[in-house]
Amino acid sequence: MEFFKKETRIDFMGIRFYTGIVIVVLWIISIGLLWTKGLNFGLDFTGGTQVEARFQTEVSPVDIRMQLEKEGFQGVRVQHYGSTQDILIRSKGESVVIDSVKDKAEPTSEQRLSTHIKKVLLDHYPKVEIRRTEFVGSEVGSELVERGIIAVIVAVFGTMLYIIFRFEYRLAISAALGLVHDAFLIMGVFSLFGFEFDLAALASVLAVLGYSLNDTIVVFDRVRENFRKVRKGSPVEVMNLSINQTLSRTLMTSWMTLLVVLALLFFGGETLFGFSMAFFLGIIIGTFSSIYVSGAVALWLGLSRDDLLPKAKVEFEGP
């Protein structure tokens, strides 16, 4: 079994003007979404309290919310989590105002909120199973956002430096642009569908950057080799040739990774949803971007044969 019995000769770069337009439009939409609608940040980032409970029978989130409101909890979000028997109760940051919580003796701070919610639930549904409670202080959350942004920037620059060292600065810039593209589009989709963006999703976005870079590097590596071998070809031809030569590898690897990510998406459970979804999107977006962002931008920046030849001596020895 082979996808392509013969070497393909698809003119990928021929349509790069149109794909360029598509990419710009997607960017505008993503940035617009992130600007207006924003991300549905998870508890890790916003701070707050979250209680996950499993009931004996099906329950309606509305009932639970009413119950909680009657006890004085305002602005608590209640939703199904995974199944109709599982409920997730959440209050983000400072959004909760408690009017009258039953035992006044204890000061009701955000920290004690989970204890109170648990108590109310157990009072009304003695058989409820509290599966997980979480409290994150708001300062911890904002610190994580900061660290996350730093991580993305450091990751992009770190890999850029490596590419400058191993290849050339034009390729580094175009690869970095490809990474930024991936990150933006993934977050755009998260914003569009309101998927929860938690710490695991952020880690996943970073891992996707590394993964998507693999594709780009494989193509660049081939470009470098082909500039040396194919004496006559123009940069566009060489780029096309390289993408075609590595196409079945790109598809096969993406497909394999997609398979395991699908396994995670379907069997990994609700906790890993953000993580798996970000990676799933990342594989698709990343495969596309390594051709049409990284490849096309490198040409657009004026990549030529001479840029890559002198450094060709830096080569690792075979196994």
Partner: protein, 606 residues
């Protein structure tokens, strides 16, 4: 062009794989939830203890898998965490104070494996259930306290040297400003203070009419204070965690001013929070007998003194400058003094010169122990004991004047060790045991399904070569599990996700190689040379692409916390092991299959 795969490489690979296999095996055995009973204060566990525990479990209707002596302790194993928790409670209630009863995980791994350091992977809280706290230590308060000390000390030094000064001010929590009448005094004072207080830096603030010196802590001293505060907090928290009876607990520093506490197995947050979140500090204060309490309470505050109330709301006026703080206490126990009244004996360590000097000078006066508690960002100070100083106190002394119950409470408070700085919980999560079980199950299913799918597709797509890649992939998983077990990093759900991802990404190296071999064959290169060139040409690409992912992984590890770190570790380790298996290991097998014979034709794929 023939390629000789050296023999030593086979041996090395063989040894690596066997080692990997041995160190991965313990994970198949797993661990039993257990309750560990050990004697304290000279009590030993013996046959009687065993029988007592047996009867206790029987009356509680619980069944243990086994109750056995292990080293100096008694270990009761159970089939699940729920029984374990119930059993711990039953045993703790049934046995007297001289036994410590703790939750533990008992390894089922055979002894010879344990002897060479093989152990199962350490499961994170999301996989085994338990409580996680992130606590923030208010290090700055210690700095403030230290500066308050200087605020009292500097005038003393100047008075002794007969240097006149106008005033001393607190500019902010980290700076003091001393003002002088003239330049000579200022110079003399600066010289003297520089010699006496080596932790401070003195800087004259220049202006025509004022002669003042600014005193600040040196950066190095500041650093030391922070370091010591955090270390003391860690020690104290560890002691408290021990009182909770969790053997596998983690108390770890995170960043500049945070401490992570993980209590696997524990479910009772209120209890845990009470013990840990008891963010109390202790200080010993001398009574101010120069002023009367009534005077101060009627609105004439005295600088350096403050009114404290005990639990019966009786006021006492004490000097706020502590002569000793809780950190110095190393032990406290209840007993009786010569008259037979209940007493608490306190043992101290470290620098107690101020304490013994002050008590010597103040025999006959009273000394109070003040308990400082921070709860929800509010500080409450209460006087837990006030007693007359009968003689100069050394590093061992007794406090008397309460009932037996009060004495026991005080001893417990003193013994649990005071935290050097107010500490508050900034993050908390509790995972129920059933949820942990479910997370493990989901993680395992994901690995199984992911691995299964990849194996099938690789075999279909690359036939013999695919099967070789599959063997490499399985070897990779074994090595990865072995490494994670050996290093002892905690396995969390994201870490499992990292493993699953590595499975998908690890085949990339083999895909690169095989596609390259196909290309070479298409170009008409001979089969053996194609294999040779496939491995050779793909190698630099493989290195490049893996190194960049590794860079990202290392960044994730450096910047991430907790579960993200776990993910980063498995990702990075997975990349490293996959380099070995996908390149070298698969090459070895290819050479084994194709190396020895003359090849007319090979096919990569069906």
């Amino acid at each position: 062009m023939s390629y000789h795969f050296p023999k030593w490489k086979y041996y090395l690979l063989g040894v690596t794989l066997v080692l990997g296999f041995i160190y991965a095996i313990p994970n198949l055995f797993g661990e039993d939830p257990a309750v560990q009973i050990s004697g304290i204060k000279g009590q030993v566990v013996n046959q009687n203890t065993l029988e007592a525990v047996d009867t206790l479990l029987e009356t509680a209707g619980l069944k243990a898998k086994s109750i056995l002596f292990e080293q100096d302790t008694l270990l009761a194993r159970f089939s699940n965490a729920e029984t374990q928790l119930k059993a711990k409670e039953a045993i703790r209630k049934g046995l007297d104070e001289n036994y410590s009863v703790a939750l533990n995980l008992a390894s089922v791994t055979p002894r010879w494996l344990q002897a060479i350091g093989a152990k199962p992977m350490k499961l994170g809280l999301d996989l085994m259930g338990g409580i996680h706290f992130l606590m923030e230590v208010d290090v700055d308060s210690v700095v403030t306290r230290r500066m308050e000390g200087y605020y009292v000390e500097i005038p003393k030094i100047l008075r002794q040297a007969k240097i006149r000064y106008v005033k001393i001010d607190r500019e902010d929590s980290e700076t003091l400003v001393v003002t002088f009448n003239n330049l000579e005094d200022k110079k003399a004072a600066t010289l003297l203070l520089q010699k006496e207080e080596r932790d401070l830096s003195f800087e004259s603030t220049e202006s025509e009419q004022s002669f003042s010196v600014q005193a600040k802590l040196l950066p190095l001293a500041l650093q030391t204070i922070r370091q010591e505060t955090l270390e003391q907090t860690l020690t104290t928290l560890r002691n408290r965690v021990n009182e909770l009876g969790v053997v596998e607990a983690i108390v770890q520093r995170q960043g500049m001013n945070r401490v992570v506490v993980e209590l696997p197995g524990i479910q009772d947050t209120a209890y845990a929070r009470d013990i840990l979140g008891k963010t109390a500090t202790l200080k010993f204060l001398i009574e101010d007998d120069k002023h009367s309490v009534q005077e101060v309470m009627s609105g004439h505050p005295v600088i350096g003194s403050k009114v404290y109330y005990d639990r019966y709301q009786r006021p006492s006026l004490l000097k706020t400058q502590p002569i000793l703080t809780g950190e110095a206490i190393t032990g406290a126990s209840t007993g009786q003094d010569r008259d037979g009244t209940p007493a608490v004996s306190v043992r101290l360590s470290g620098d107690i010169s101020l304490f013994s000097k002050t008590t010597r000078e103040n025999v006959g006066k009273r000394m109070g122990v003040v308990y400082v508690e921070v709860k929800d960002n509010k500080t409450t100070e209460s006087l837990i004991s006030i007693a007359q100083i009968k003689s100069a106190l050394g590093n061992q002394f007794q406090i008397t004047g309460f009932s037996l119950a009060e004495a026991r409470d005080l001893a417990l408070l003193l013994r649990a060790g005071a935290l050097p700085a107010p500490t508050s919980i900034v993050e908390e999560s509790i995972v129920g045991p059933s949820m942990g079980q479910e997370n493990i199950r989901m993680g395992m299913i994901s690995i199984a399904v992911g691995l299964g799918l990849v194996l099938v597709f690789m075999a279909l797509y690359y036939s013999v070569f695919g099967i070789i890649a599959n063997l490499a992939l399985i070897a990779n998983l074994i090595l990865l599990v072995a490494l994670v077990s050996l290093i002892g990093t905690t396995l969390t759900l994201p870490a499992i996700a990292g493993m699953v991802l590595t499975l998908g990404m690890a085949v990339d190296a083999n895909v690169l190689i095989f596609e390259r071999i196909r290309e070479e064959i298409r170009l008409g290169v001979s089969p053996k040379a194609s294999i040779q060139r496939g491995y050779e040409f793909a190698f630099s690409t493989i290195i490049d692409s893996n190194l960049t992912t590794l860079i990202v992984g290392v960044i994730l590890f450096a910047i991430g916390t907790g579960s993200v770190k776990g993910f980063a570790v498995t990702l990075c380790l997975g990349i490293l092991t996959s380099l070995l298996t996908a390149v070298t290991f698969s090459r070895a097998i290819v050479e084994l299959i194709y190396g020895g014979r003359v090849l007319k034709q090979i096919r990569v794929g069906i």
